[in-house]
Amino acid sequence: MENQMTVIFDAVTENEAFARNTVAAFCVALDPTVDQINDIKTAVSEAVTNCIVHAYPDKSQKGKITITTTISDNSVHIVISDTGIGIDDVDSAMQPFFTTKPEQERSGMGFTVMESFTDSLTVERNKPTGTVVSMTKTIRGADWKKKTH
């Protein structure tokens, strides 16, 4: 059975913990392991940080971030979108250590972390503006592990 939730919130750093904890809490129904929950939290935090740091350079206008999380039998699908300025060159942005803001001590590891901590990652243009990041992670709960190993 599919179950879905959507949250929309301001693109401010205060909401980073809220975003990752909300998605993680929704995924608890799948009986994930502690490691899987931490992977989800980290991946969500990376995507949300990107929206806050890069998507809305005009700080006088409050941008929004939308997260839709869908859980099904054994996987979670997370879509994180903004309506900001978008990414000029997605291929470059996804390279490890690539950053457009080296002066801010940015590691350039955001997409690399998302890719490593989930099973699939896609980054697309949002319409009319912005970016859509989609991630899927298979969750086979702790019980499943006990049964099969």
Binding site: E14, A17, N38, K41, T42, R106, S107
Partner: protein, 102 residues
């Protein structure tokens, strides 16, 4: 996010407690810089045993501190990162420039 610290001989010990993300990065950055600037220290230990969460923002903070301290010959040691934090640290290759001490 709170930071505990103490100095013993010429070693600075810094303990990061809580969750290190973009929201807390400036606080961690300026606190460590204030502690290391102008003080006679030979090495810095960063205790992560109470760091419940860290994303790649933390990697940026660590690399920034490394760049500031390296010209002064001050190495950074990472202590006791929980598995979830350790995973981000390993992925970033940070252990090539900082030693994991316990």
């Amino acid at each position: 996010m709170t930071i505990e610290h103490y100095k013993k001989a010429d070693t600075l010990y810094v303990k990061l407690c809580g969750e290190l993300d973009e929201h807390h990065s400036a606080y961690v950055r300026t606190t460590i810089d204030t502690l290391t600037d102008g003080d006679v220290i030979k090495r810095v230990y960063i205790d992560m045993s109470d760091l419940a969460f860290m994303d790649s923002t933390g990697i940026g903070v660590l690399i920034g501190r490394y760049k500031r301290l390296k010209p002064r010959g001050i190495p950074i040691f990472i202590q006791s990162p929980p598995p979830t934090v350790d995973k981000v640290l390993r992925l970033s290759g940070i252990y090539e420039i900082m030693t994991k001490a316990g």
